[in-house]
């Protein structure tokens, strides 16, 4: 998948000239080729040769660059990065802030962060250095999903970068437990503080009081990599791809009927070209899930003509999130798939809030009833009532995301649900499509 070719710019990047002559900005893909690269990516030497050394930015400069570029977070919430940097810098007192790169990627349908960490770890570490300097961090952490080979490789790379004087801030690599909520920012703060990865009640938000009570900047690893490119090549370059309101590129994880692939895509790219399918009514795709397990189902009719980005997705009740796009094959039952996902989501509740602890298993039971044949007539009404009861009543957004998925499923798969009520399922393929993790939590240790 290629990006729009950037317009050649005669102006120099807005960052001060790096100490070595910089090569021209990468045309496409910006974040580098994501396939055919050995784990660990290009070594540090290759990284420096390809991207040149990271410029040293003055105080406030990273924030200005991020603001000019219109960069928003790539972890799913899409919060403007410049505002987040300013919030943490502003909350700083007595010089203590913490920066955490979030590479937990707890969304099972997303593979972009683990791919980025495997093939471009140096860009992520560069981004951490930039952010840490900008907010005067006393502690810098890279939080990653548990993978001994990846973690070992990252720690060795950090040692090398510190030893060679590339990194002013030593990065600690901290492992996230394999929990759906482990990447939630307050759960992350709790884990990095040495506790369990359980969400906390807010306020205060982590930018005010996060890891060990310090103002904490949490940035997705892809956002950090984008910052590393932005510092080198400037905001005009950044904006040369994407849309005016949603500039740049983003990593997506696309699930099509025959494969799953991480691709870097310019915002504004039509979904049909991502999926490689025209989304016809009786075609190979039955429905599209945008946003992962807390996302929104769209009918093919609604998805056709949509471009990647919130400009087109929000009016349809969806959000680009962390770039997960799933094309459900036409022969697979969307009700059954949703029931499987919701059962997983219920089991992954942190178990801290009454409405979630009680409501999510009830909702999972309700979806499973609809997925089976001949559910009770009240099943759908019960489901909608429980959905209304849990949304907004947890400490985190786990209930809300689950409800979003369920409500969209009830809408998009309404005809299929009627079929089930009459004792029929139209699926021709009953094998599971979405990969839903097994190994559900049973003890406190599962959250550490």
């Amino acid at each position: 998948m290629t990006l729009a070719t950037p317009r050649p710019t005669a102006t120099a990047p807005t960052a001060p000239a790096p100490t070595t002559a910089s090569p021209p900005p990468p045309p496409a893909p910006r974040l580098g080729h994501l396939v055919g690269v050995l784990p660990g990516g290009p070594g540090l030497d290759d990284h420096l040769r390809h991207y040149s050394t990271l410029p040293q930015l003055g105080p406030g400069e990273l924030g200005r660059l991020a603001a000019d570029a219109g960069l928003v977070g790539r972890g799913g919430a899409g919060f403007p990065t410049a505002r987040k940097l300013a919030a943490v810098a502003g909350a700083r007192r007595a010089g203590r802030t913490v920066v955490v790169g979030n590479g937990a990627e707890s969304e099972p349908a997303s593979g972009k962060d683990r791919t980025l960490l495997r093939v471009r770890p140096n860009l992520v570490l560069d981004g951490l250095q930039l952010a840490a300097t900008e907010v005067s961090a006393g502690r810098v952490v890279l939080y990653v999903h548990r993978d001994p080979i990846l973690v070992g490789g990252l720690r060795a790379l950090v040692d090398q970068r510190v030893r060679l004087g590339v990194d002013a801030h030593r990065v600690e690599v901290v492992e996230a437990p394999p929990r759906f909520l482990a990447g939630e920012e307050s759960a992350l703060a709790s884990r990095v503080s040495g506790g369990l990865a359980l969400p906390r009640f807010t306020p205060p938000r982590v930018f005010q009081s996060g890891v060990d009570g310090a103002p904490t900047l949490v940035q997705n690893v892809e956002t950090l990599a984008q910052l590393a490119l932005l510092a080198r090549f400037g905001s005009q370059w950044f904006r040369s791809a994407g849309l005016a309101d949603e500039p740049g590129s983003m990593l997506t994880t696309v699930h099509s009927p025959d494969r799953r692939r991480v691709q870097e895509v310019a915002l504004g790219t039509p979904l049909t070209s991502l999926l490689g399918d025209p989304l016809l009514p009786d075609g190979p795709i039955g429905a599209v899930l945008v946003g992962g397990f807390h996302g929104t189902w769209l009918s093919t009719a609604d998805a056709v003509g949509l471009r990647l980005g919130n400009t087109d997705l929000r009016p349809r009740g969806a959000s680009v999130g962390a770039g997960v796009i799933v094309a459900l094959p036409a022969g697979v039952c969307g009700v059954v798939e949703t029931a499987r996902v919701v059962s997983y989501l219920a089991a992954e509740s942190a178990g801290q809030c009454g409405p979630c602890v009680n409501g999510l298993p009830a909702i999972a039971g309700g979806m499973t009833e609809l997925a089976d044949l001949r559910p009770r007539p009240q099943a759908r009404d019960d489901l909608l009532r429980w959905a209304g009861l849990v949304a907004g009543r947890g400490a985190c957004h786990h209930p809300d995301g689950t409800v979003r998925l369920v409500r969209s499923a009830l809408q998009v798969f309404a005809q299929e649900i009627e079929q089930h009520a009459a004792g029929r399922c139209t699926a021709t393929d009953t094998s599971a499509f979405l990969q839903v993790p097994t190994g559900l939590p049973t003890r406190d240790e599962d959250w550490s």
């Binding site: 009640f201 306020p203 809030c353 009454g354 409405p355 009680n358 009861l389 009543r393 947890g394 400490a395």
Partner: protein, 66 residues
């Protein structure tokens, strides 16, 4: 205080709040409080304060953000 908020992590569903301030707090089918968004008029303020004080887990609090 203008409104009340519940910390759902601290809340264990004791229900004292719903008993002391039924005008603003109802219980869901699992016994957990649903706190109304409506502001608390002056005549209700002492009842609201009593509900806050009565919560055994200190889950109910005045909403500082409003």
């Amino acid at each position: 205080m203008m409104r009340l908020t519940v910390n759902p992590i601290r809340c264990d569903g004791h229900g004292a709040c719903a008993e002391l301030l039924p005008e603003r707090v109802a219980l869901d089918e699992w016994g957990y409080p649903i706190v109304s968004d409506a502001p608390i008029p002056d005549r209700m303020a002492s009842h609201a304060r009593r509900a806050v004080a009565a919560c055994p887990t200190l889950a109910l609090a005045p909403d500082a953000d409003r």
